[in-house]
Amino acid sequence: MIQVNNLFHSYKKNEDYAVEDVSFAIAKAEIFGFLGPSGAGKSTTQGVLSGLLELQKGSIIIDGQARKTYPDKAFYNRIGVGFEKPNVYKKLNGYDNLKFHASLYDGDTEDPKTVLEMVGLADEGKKLAGEYSKGMMQRLGFARSMINKPDIWFLDEPTMGLDPNTANSIKRIIRKKQSEGTTIFLTTHNMYVADELCDRVAFIVDGKIAAMDSPKNLKLKYGNPTVSVEFMEDGILKKKDFGMTGKDKGDLEKFIREHDIKTLHSGEPTLEEIFIRLTGRGLE
């Protein structure tokens, strides 16, 4: 559905690239995550893909059609973009914000009331957006991004600053949209969100892709699973970690036989650990 080849972008239009030689493909109804620390090039890539920034070098092919410097009107009609900052009119109420944005599109749009209900703001629709809490404003911005029923949805840190309940409801909406056929490009520095939602992720550092695969494959390929054992010795509860391959495997079996084992936990490496292992950098 979306094919990106050798994408470069420089804000100063020189050799100082914010995104450098980035290539990837996203299938229809796939959730593709861009995982990286602040300033890694995630938002720039999303900016170029969504048409906020010009296409300087490289190619973007969507449904077989190559993008020009800026996309055409038809492209903007089919995309939704959720930003890290809510981008809402604070002097308008939630309902009017959505109604205004819906009026900008040519095709069929969602009913603002339905979308407000989806994000848990049904009772706050008549309240000025400026009076919303940060989380409510974030949800309104998220609702705005899906008002035109997009079939390509760009989401930048969609759960940032939300309480766990609200974050879960946002994740549910994302999965529901995916099941309805929406292709989702998600940028985040939150490994849990990426792990939970994305079919595939790309690690991006200094504008370059360091690795790309499904979270599971990345963990299998680059991770080192462990087993954590809690046992009693001399009346004290102690803990010891074992690897799950090679010599460690034999040592673990022997240890279990010889000790008073209380608990056994398998330890799967997190995406962040894989990220650090591959890039030498943290995600914050």
Binding site: Y11, S43, T44, G47, S50, G51, L52, L53, E54, Y70, K73, A74, Y76, N77, I79, V81, F83, K85, N87, V88, Y89, K90, K91, L92, D96, F100, H101, S103, L104, Y105, D106, G141, R144, N148
Partner: protein, 353 residues
């Protein structure tokens, strides 16, 4: 059509909620009240003319017309050229006049002017003197002078316009024309600082439509505030030409506002430039009240044409060419600035994420 209507509706709604529109209307009502009831109708604005009469012709005039029939309030009689020069050096709006008699009985006049005295003003004095001398030397009868005043060259120097009405063009330029500049900087800056413009940019609507809607909103507000200020004072006399001139000025002001808004991310960051521009744009008002101050560089400021165009529309005096000239020049400037501001804004915004 539907899209521009919705954008316009949103901008009007934001204008009302930001209290900008309400303030504009309330201030207009307040100011029209001041113009009608508090500003005096008569304020002397006579020009001082230092006269060195070597010929004794003024005494002749006094005898001819009767001193009581001559309006000599502005004239200050001196005894030498040096006194004139000292006088006009001190009083920067004053002029000097030396009258001498030639041997053949004709008169010679020398006008000492300020470097910025307008040619229209000089011509006006010249023609007046020529008239008086013609009467005195018997070239044409005195009743011609009494009946036909030289008005064609006065261009805004009418004597009998109440001062409060004379103030109106300046008030309209400040309250209506310049508000476009300030309001546009604020409207564009707000959209940039709240980043609502980013959300707009990923919709199918264009940035030109975004700007057009704001222009339309400011024009609509300007029509209302202009009417509040104009109609109670002037009725519908010259209403439509004056409205056309002020709307063109609003477009110029709001285009300048877009240019500033393109460079400054928040309204407060641009405030210094806004004040500076507003001061420069106000300068031609001096020329309206003191026609002797009319240096050529003033004509490079668009509000010069607004002020004199409004003045001509409000006080018709054989000066319709000023309205036409003003409208043509303002239209040209408005078109250039509309195009330029849209281009600069598009380029500047597209560089941003």
């Amino acid at each position: 059509m539907g899209r521009i209507f919705n954008l316009f509706k949103k901008d009007i709604l934001l204008g009302i909620k930001d209290v900008f529109i309400i303030l504009e209307v309330v201030f207009s009502v307040f100011i029209v009240f001041i113009v009608l009831f508090l500003i005096p109708k008569n304020i002397e604005q006579d020009q001082t003319i230092y006269v060195y009469d070597r010929s004794g012709v003024i005494t002749g005039f006094m005898e001819f017309f009767g001193a009581e029939n001559m309006d000599l309030d502005s004239e200050l009689f001196v005894e030498s050229r040096e006194e004139i020069i000292a006088g006009i050096e001190t009083n920067k709006t004053a002029l000097g006049l030396i009258i001498s008699a030639n041997e053949d009985g004709t008169f010679h006049t020398e006008l000492l002017t300020q470097p910025y005295t307008s040619s229209a003003m000089m011509k006006f004095i010249d023609v007046n003197l020529e008239d008086l001398f013609s009467i005195l030397t018997g070239t044409y009868p005195p009743d011609v002078y009494a009946a036909v005043r030289v008005t064609g060259l006065q261009e805004g120097m009418q004597e009998d316009i109440p001062f409060n009405k004379k103030m109106l063009p300046v008030i309209i330029v400040m309250m209506v024309g310049l508000v476009g500049l300030f309001a546009m900087v604020s409207l564009v800056g707000q959209e940039r600082s709240d980043e609502t413009i980013r959300a707009y940019r990923v919709s199918p609507a264009s940035l030109n439509m975004f700007l057009l809607s704001k222009h339309l909103m400011l024009l609509a507000v300007s029509i209302v505030t202009f009417s509040i200020l104009y109609i109670p004072v002037m009725g519908f006399n010259g209403y439509f030409p004056a409205l056309l001139i002020i709307l063109l000025t609003v477009v110029i002001g709001s285009s300048l506002g877009i240019l500033l808004g393109a460079f400054f991310e928040s309204p407060m960051a641009a405030i210094g430039w806004v004040i500076l521009l507003m001061l420069v744009i106000s300068l031609p008002a001096i020329s309206l009240f003191a026609p002797i101050f009319s240096p050529d560089w003033l004509k490079f400021i668009p509000s010069y044409y607004t002020l004199f165009g409004l003045d001509a529309a409000m006080f018709p005096d054989n000066n319709s060419h000023i309205i036409l000239q003003g409208t043509a020049i303002l239209s040209g400037i408005a078109l250039i600035l509309l195009w330029l501001s849209a281009k600069v804004f598009n380029q500047s915004i597209r560089k941003e994420m």
